[in-house]
Amino acid sequence: MDHHIDRHFDEALLALKQQIMLMGNKVEIMVSDCMRALKEKDKNLAEKIIDSDQSINALEIAIDEQCIELLARYQPAASDLRFITRGLKIVTDLERIGDLAVNCAQRIKQIIKENNISPKMDEVDVYKMAKIVQDMLRTSLTAFIEENATLAENVFTRDDEVDEATEKYVTILIEKAAKEPSSIKKIFPMTSLIRYLERIADHSTNIAELAIFMVRGRDVRHGRG
């Protein structure tokens, strides 16, 4: 028997899940739009990403209120309690991803303005890195919504790839800047963009950890259980 006897509680949990999905979809779109804005050199799209942060913040507040009301009214236990309390945490990660997407958009505007550093050059491929980050975000959100701990675990190995790429790309760009000091102004926005993508990956890892706790009741933060 998967449904609660109290169908109002079932409906309220479903509504919460749908709100979290909505917020997750919105931040996914923000991150993918960042890469589209970079590729197409679209300053207007970058502006649109910056403006969309307001709706993310509003969703965070709304979901927090939903969670608190569920806790107060239904005194949930076990898996329901884990879902609601982790829901409270996941919106914090999603809101931070939204902020980081805004930061990316701001740097992309600078990159477009400077117009002479490519996101793909030598051994640096920001598009490839961004694709991994987007996959991580999508996978961790899917794992949370579908309550799939095995799927969540896949996210952790990809985080290692992102960390390696970050270190490699930033090192290459800093060396380039050291050789050509006049290029610092052009290189700095790109290194910042790479760091913001890496932090989005970290938040995706947090979401994956929350999914595992929700499903298995095992806290894998700070050392993976």
Partner: protein
């Protein structure tokens, strides 16, 4: 240390097997709650531990029950002494049709305490322990039935602890009380656990979560799971426990 140990306990009402192979231990000076749907055997199990079920004809027990290491079903066991050591509080307050004073004094007198000053001391001490002394010290001769339901239940608890039990069995002690009275009785339980082992049966899961340190879930005569309350209510091991406490079982 374990106050109660149960091994392979089975209990029958005539041919009906009400308790099936119960194995459990109740820890000393902690509050343990038993939860489960109606008819699952919670109250039957509670009444095993002070052999109140003996008073029902047609009942039969197999297996082993030890109270502080002593088997309570061994031949010649002193049941009267058991019921002194293992006191019981019932769902509906049931004070005697006596004065407030005599309700508390009754038990000690039966057990041989007759000196007036000793009895008075016992009455005062136990009414204080349940938070009734200040309210009732000037009306101890009043009939106990003139008290509110909450006060009657507190008086029943005072009556029970006046004979210095070691274990308190509480069978839904708050179900007849309003929410504020229930909260005050729950607070009293937290004070009492410093001196007594408490085993409470309750239909109110939130109450079980609030007052107990250990919690057992029963279903159809079986003890499905027993563990720390925090673990039972956040990550239960058995799906049947999970279904019950999340309201997927009714």
């Amino acid at each position: 240390m374990k106050s109660i140990n149960c091994k392979n306990l089975n209990f029958y009402y005539d041919d009906f097997k009400a308790l099936k192979n119960i194995n459990m231990s109740v820890s000393h000076k902690r509050v343990t709650a038993l939860i489960g749907p109606s008819g699952c055997g919670k109250s039957t199990l509670l009444r095993v531990f002070n052999r109140m079920n003996d008073l029902i004809s047609g009942t039969r027990v197999t297996g082993e029950v030890e109270i502080f290491g002593e088997s309570i079903f061994k031949k010649g066991f002193d049941v009267t002494s058991l019921r002194k050591r293992v006191g019981m509080v019932f769902q509906r307050p049931n004070p005697f049709y006596l004065s407030i004073f005599d309700n508390v004094a009754h038990g000690p007198k039966i057990h041989g305490i007759w000196k007036r000053n000793e009895v008075e001391e016992i009455v005062q001490k136990n009414l204080m322990a349940v938070g009734l002394w200040d309210a009732l010290k000037d009306r101890l001769k009043d009939n106990a039935l003139t008290l509110s339901l909450e006060q009657q239940q507190r008086l029943c608890i005072a009556r029970t602890i006046a004979v210095k039990p070691e274990i308190l069995l509480m069978d839904e002690p708050c179900s007849a009380l309003d929410p504020q009275a229930m909260a005050r009785i729950e607070e009293l339980m937290q004070d009492l656990k410093n001196e007594y082992t408490i085993l409470i049966v309750t239909h109110n899961m939130q109450q079980a979560a609030r007052v107990s340190e250990d919690c057992g879930f029963m279903l159809l005569g079986e003890l499905i799971e027993l563990g720390p309350t925090s673990q039972i209510f956040t990550t239960p091991k058995d799906k049947r426990t999970e279904d019950y406490i999340t309201g997927r079982y009714g």
